[in-house]
């Protein structure tokens, strides 16, 4: 087992809600509530969950573009939670991000060369070297060297996502957080980008945190998968173990609800009742107890801790205690 590249400990993000005459804080939206996990070098950790579960917030906190309320982020042995300004900028090259929206993630007023070279220029690489690197990166992600003279509006969604990936790679990062990186793309384009990302991972010895709502995509690209619900990590396991043998009732329902494109041998579908509760007013006890088909009395009072129930398989559920 290799060293942990990233350790996230008890990460929390609360957004205050204000009300009343004096705009007092009357509560918090608990977007991320006590999440811990690790990512090893060269590993891909998938994070799945439905909208509002806190997966993107988690990703952004790790990338240090959003301030955590509390908790600790240790990257490559260094605590980066409290770094700011110059110090933060000094470590940034080691972790980069690929974004969801291929249209919004590229500055429309900048040429492709400028976009990809920006991380290099900002970090003091000479123009000439930067251009060489841009050419290399463009070719590596399946575009042409001449494309660096063009502007984003001249590219399709899939091509823009390639440009976004090239930019993320510019500084030779160790970790890339991909936040719904293929969600906005058509299936045929999606597979192009997934294949590209898997190739690049091998070539550059990258680690990924791959955030998505699409269970099949996460399964395809990840080594380990974490399932989030209402700001909590409810299950975290090796991919095979998680998909073949989901332990948490939520994971089970989620897997059964995702439609598989085949007609024979479809699994029995578990239809959850109701909606996800509001993170501004989460239920007491287990966050899932309001919709859980296997709810017990203890679930309503006590929040289960994330515990290892099988080798490398962690679940937060009272069924296993």
């Amino acid at each position: 087992m290799s060293e942990n590249l990233l350790e996230v400990r008890n990460l929390k993000k609360y957004f205050p809600i204000t009300a009343g005459l004096l705009r007092r804080t009357v509560g918090h939206v608990k977007a991320v509530d006590d999440v811990s996990f690790t990512v090893k070098a060269g590993e891909t950790l998938g994070i799945v969950g439905e909208s509002g579960c806190g997966k993107s917030t988690t990703g952004r906190m790790i990338m240090r573009v959003l301030e955590p309320t509390s908790g600790q982020i240790v990257f490559d042995g260094q605590d980066i939670t409290k770094l700011h300004g110059k110090e933060l900028r000094a470590v940034r090259p080691k972790f980069q991000m690929v974004f969801q929206d291929p249209y919004a993630s590229l500055n429309p007023k900048m040429g492709i060369e400028e976009i990809i070279a920006e991380p290099l220029i900002v970090n003091g690489v000479s123009r000439k070297q930067a251009t060489e690197r841009v050419v290399h990166l463009l070719e590596r992600v399946g575009l042409r060297a001449e494309d660096r003279h063009r502007y984003p509006h001249e590219f399709s969604g899939g091509q823009r996502q390639r440009i976004g990936i090239a930019r993320a790679l510019a500084l030779n990062p160790k970790l890339i957080v991909a936040d719904e990186a293929v969600s906005a793309l058509d299936v045929s384009i999606q597979s192009q980008i997934l294949n590209l990302m898997m190739d690049l991972k091998k070539e550059f010895n990258l680690s990924y945190i791959f955030i998505s709502h699409n269970l099949a995509v996460v399964r395809h690209i990840s080594d380990r998968v974490g399932v989030m619900y209402l700001g909590h990590m409810v299950e975290l396991a090796d991919k095979r173990s998680l998909y073949a043998n989901p332990r948490h009732p939520y994971t089970e329902a989620l897997l059964s609800a995702a439609p598989e494109p085949k007609r024979q041998g479809r699994r029995e579908r578990i239809i959850l009742q109701g909606d996800v509760p509001s993170p501004a007013n989460p239920p007491k006890g287990c966050p899932f107890h309001t919709r859980c088909p296997k709810v017990m009395d203890v679930c309503k009072v006590e929040r289960p801790a994330l515990k290892e129930v099988a080798p490398n398989h962690l679940v937060a559920c009272h069924l296993y205690s």
Partner: protein
């Protein structure tokens, strides 16, 4: 087979502007039998949404125009009806639900007002009777607290609830045909499962035929009796759902299925269809998929293949299979 409920013949819907003619729908034929669920599947820009809007004669004016074809519904050609006659059909005999339940509901009218509006238009009811019917319908589609919800506004509901409201609104006049344009794309997986289940129930209880437009082959496998695969404004494959998944025949359909990661089986490398969809303002002369097709021959680029029956009931637009 019985007389089809809906028969689209050689429908062509173009967007005509000063400098371009975009052939969004370019000569499609689709039949829908009573009580049948027909899925139209394809990637963005393939013309599937324009097909549905053409059936409703709601193609955005002034640029969009149905330039040719017939749409036979219940013994009448919808394209020959006057605008007044067509408004009697909409919401009454054919109704429609859309992708974004948030934007598809009027934010300043209560849920009750929006549902009763349909009843008051098509049925001779008093306001009070209409409201009672609306509440009944909301209960039927599984909206809790229906008698209170009718006085609330769309922004007070969750995404899943809004889509249920849309379905209630569409079904309240018990139409013979429901057109659902990506009804679950904006929803989470667990909510998607609820809504798909509800649509099945609607078909059972009201004997309604459904045209389901989606890009998700998983949803197709779950819902469809018959599948129509569209590519670049044309139907490339049309067959019953079982044979589509058992023997996909058109290279595009095959590629599409192969490029989707699976929940259940390991795929090392996903197949990916190279390239991107051709520009709808300048389609190539021959087969529109030829540039991306792994089995393309020079002849494919010269002549447009016809949609031909390769097996009983299984139509494919490819000369090489």
């Amino acid at each position: 087979m019985a007389e089809p409920l809906l028969a689209i013949k050689n429908l062509k819907t173009y967007f005509i502007s000063k400098d371009a003619e975009v052939r969004a729908v370019d000569g499609i034929d689709i039949e829908v039998q009573p009580r049948q669920v027909v899925c139209i599947v394809g990637e963005s820009g393939c013309g599937k949404s324009m097909t549905s809007l053409s059936i409703m004669r709601l193609v955005p004016k002034p640029k969009g125009k149905i330039v040719d074809g017939e749409i036979w519904f219940n013994g009448r050609d919808l394209l020959k009806l006057s605008e007044d006659e067509m408004t009697d059909v909409r919401g009454n005999e054919i109704s429609m639900i859309f992708q974004e339940p948030m934007t598809a509901l009027n934010p300043v009218l209560t849920i009750g007002e929006q549902i009763t509006e349909v009843l008051l238009r098509h049925r001779k009811l008093t306001k009070r009777q209409a409201l009672a019917k609306a509440i009944e319908m909301l209960q039927f589609v599984g909206v809790p607290r229906a008698s209170e919800i009718v006085h609330e506004y769309p922004h007070q509901l969750s995404g899943g609830m809004r889509q249920r409201v849309m379905i209630a609104m569409a079904m309240v006049c018990e139409p013979k045909l429901l057109i659902a344009d990506e009804p679950t794309t904006a929803l989470d997986v667990t909510i998607q499962a609820q809504v798909l289940e509800l649509m099945k129930k609607m078909r059972e209880d009201f004997d309604t035929s459904i045209i389901l437009i989606t890009h998700d082959l998983g949803v197709v496998a779950d819902m469809a009796d018959h599948v129509v695969v569209m590519y670049a404004g044309q139907v490339v494959e049309s067959t019953d759902a079982d044979s589509l998944f058992a023997e996909p025949t058109h290279p595009y359909t095959k590629g599409l299925l192969a490029s989707i990661p699976s929940l259940e089986e390991e795929k090392d490398v996903l197949y990916s269809i190279p390239g991107t969809v051709p520009d709808a303002a300048a389609f190539p002369q021959g087969c529109r998929f030829a540039d991306r097709c792994p089995i393309a021959q020079p002849s494919c680029r010269e002549k447009m293949p016809e949609l031909r029956e390769v097996k009983p009931g299984h139509f494919v637009r490819c000369d090489l299979v």
